[in-house]
């Protein structure tokens, strides 16, 4: 029996790569995820993940890095959803469902063929549930580049996207090109889903996207702080997951590594449960609710009537 971590943890190459890639991915997911949760688009994120599954399994079959498949699949999915959404709103749910079904079907075929060819069941595990320890170091520059692109897009559209999230009409009246901004955000979301798929698998990718962001929205009132909190929470969950997965080798006599994704997702879930505790929610939301329910006092009303004001003058 040993304590907390096995001594080889800090000297292992795959662990280093896992920590670096996992942290980068968690930061990207935190930045994008806050908007995803805020806009109520976690279903869109999940849809992109389904298409990314097909892309990733296709890339595996073709013998290239699944990352390219994840990202290509996600971007193609974002484009398809945009086209469906624009042409006719009524058939959108149906069309999305059919596209997603086809994507998963395609993934089933690719994974089957991949498994038969390489005569290993590793493909399904790696694509669907991730294998952060098998990432090769040459992938890091690509991950970094895509992450910079994704965060760059989010920085670019930050204000117009925030205003569009409040009301598209208000944004459009303000001169925001709402469709372009929405499309850029979907592109960023597709990149984030692709990167997250690399770290914890396509099926679980939205957990890293949605979970830390949902926790952050419980704890902060400002979007900047929400992003920081989501990034810190996500990085924490990933590092904890990597540590525990590495450690799990010694947990049973059979000596097998438990999947990192399992630990990351459980850490996020437990974090979310903690923010559900009454005293934590009280400290942010409740206070505002009490405040909001009190009517304006008579003093401020009389000020309205008398026209006395320090408002802006022209």
């Amino acid at each position: 029996m040993h304590w907390v971590f096995e001594p080889g943890f800090f000297s292992s190459g795959p662990v280093h790569i896992a920590c670096v890639v996992g942290s980068i991915v968690a930061i990207v997911s935190g930045v994008v995820g806050v908007f995803t949760v805020m806009r109520g688009q976690s279903f869109a994120g999940h849809s992109l993940a389904d298409v990314a599954t097909a892309g990733g399994s296709g890339a595996f079959l073709a013998g290239v890095s699944p990352l390219f498949g994840f990202v290509a699949g996600g971007v193609a999915g974002a484009g398809a959803m945009e086209m469906i959404g624009v042409s006719r709103a009524r058939g959108r749910d149906l069309a999305t469902g059919i596209v997603l079904g086809a994507s998963i079907g395609l993934a089933a075929l690719f994974l089957y063929l991949g498994t038969t060819r390489s005569s290993t069941t590793g493909a399904s595990q790696q694509i669907l549930f991730g294998s952060i320890f098998s990432i090769v170091s040459s992938t890091i520059p690509v991950v970094a580049l895509l992450s910079v692109l994704c965060v760059g897009i989010m920085a670019l559209v930050h204000r117009p996207l925030l205003l569009s999230s409040v009301s598209t009409d208000m944004a459009a009246a303000r001169g925001v090109p709402v469709r372009v901004v929405g499309l850029l955000y979907m592109l960023a979301l597709a990149l984030a889903v692709g990167l997250s798929s690399l770290a914890i698998g396509a099926i679980l990718s939205t957990a890293l996207l949605i979970g830390p962001a949902a926790i952050a929205l419980r704890l902060t009132k400002r979007i900047g702080w929400a992003m920081v909190t989501a990034c810190v929470t996500g990085v924490g969950a990933v590092l904890l997951g990597v540590l525990l997965a590495y450690d799990s080798y010694y947990w049973s006599s059979s000596h097998a590594y438990w999947p990192v994704s399992f630990f990351i997702v459980v850490a996020i879930f437990l974090g979310y449960l903690v923010t559900e505790l009454p005293f934590i929610r009280t400290s942010t939301t409740r206070r505002n609710e009490t405040r909001a329910s009190t009517a304006p006092d008579l003093d401020s009303m009389s000020r309205v009537g008398s026209g006395q004001s320090a408002g802006p003058t022209r």
Partner: protein
């Protein structure tokens, strides 16, 4: 009849000229013409489905008219028009949304700009000043989603005003408010129109709450409009021509009641089941 300064009467801030809108074969607006002047409070009155929101969307450039045109400050409106502030009917915000009232007001300054905002003292002071102007300083740090309807309305007005528009458009701001909050918002808008010398165009399905402050009225019915000073529009013959059937205007304790159908001598509708508009 105008209570505005000497320079205001000459130019109209907003001119709506013969605007018609048809959506999938249905005529929503039919040859609507009116103007809004600086410092004036104009009420856009009509029942549900009369075309109020469509008309506001045309003015904002969110909806293309089938015929006619909209001039803002004498020129056809461009897509990025900074001279108009807009307050939508309703925003649906989750209480969890990490957006404080002051953040939403600040988005009125530069919400259309790309890139990360740089916090500045000037920006902060402008927001504080605007929150004070709409009596919202008490809840400036609360999340917008946790505010009451009346409080949200003030914040949205502050958001629209901080860009220093010359024209403020509001879509049914009183629809979701109780009577007292509604009266406060109306008084606030009247004060702002006068102090900042801007034109206010406010849509409502009921004209009575606006009577004390309304300089002009645009009365919409069946997609057509009658406009002018309130007392010249809200008359039997004008509204009957607009509706295409006989209606009568009654004044009851300072409130106006528009009633359809022929009248008896009593001054009240003979059949209470007849439609009051």
């Amino acid at each position: 009849m105008d209570s505005t300064g000497p320079d205001a009467t000459s130019s109209e801030l907003l001119e709506v000229e013969g605007v018609s809108v048809s959506l999938s074969g249905r005529r929503i607006l039919d040859d609507v013409t009116f103007g809004v002047r600086a410092g004036e409070f104009t009420g856009l009155i009509g029942s549900n489905g009369a075309g109020k929101t469509t008309l506001l969307r045309v003015i904002l450039g969110l909806q293309r008219p089938t015929a006619g045109r909209v001039l803002v400050l004498g020129a056809p409106r461009s897509h990025r028009n900074r001279s108009m502030g807009y307050v939508p009917q309703k925003i649906m915000l989750d209480p969890d949304m990490p957006l404080r009232a002051r953040d939403l007001v600040a988005l009125g300054i530069d919400g259309n700009r790309f890139g990360i905002p740089t916090p500045s003292r000037q920006r902060r002071e402008a927001v504080d000043e605007m929150l004070h102007a709409v009596d919202a300083e008490g809840f400036g740090d609360a999340r917008v989603g946790t505010l009451s309807g009346g409080e949200q309305q003030r914040v949205l007005i502050a958001h629209a005003l901080i860009g220093r528009p010359q024209l403020l458009l509001l879509d049914e701001p009183l629809a979701n408010l109780d009577l007292k909050s509604g009266q406060e918002v109306v008084t606030l808008l009247d004060r702002i129109a006068e102090e900042q010398h801007i034109g206010v165009l406010l849509s409502a399905h009921e004209m009575n709450p606006l009577l004390p402050v309304m300089d002009r009225i645009v009365y919409l019915a069946g997609g057509r409009a009658a406009s002018g000073p309130t007392d010249q529009v809200v008359r039997d013959e004008v509204l009957s021509a607009l509706y295409g059937y006989e209606v009568h205007v009654h004044t009851l304790h300072g409130r106006i009641l528009v009633v359809a159908g022929p009248m008896e001598e009593s001054g009240l509708p003979p059949d209470p089941s007849l439609k009051a508009v």
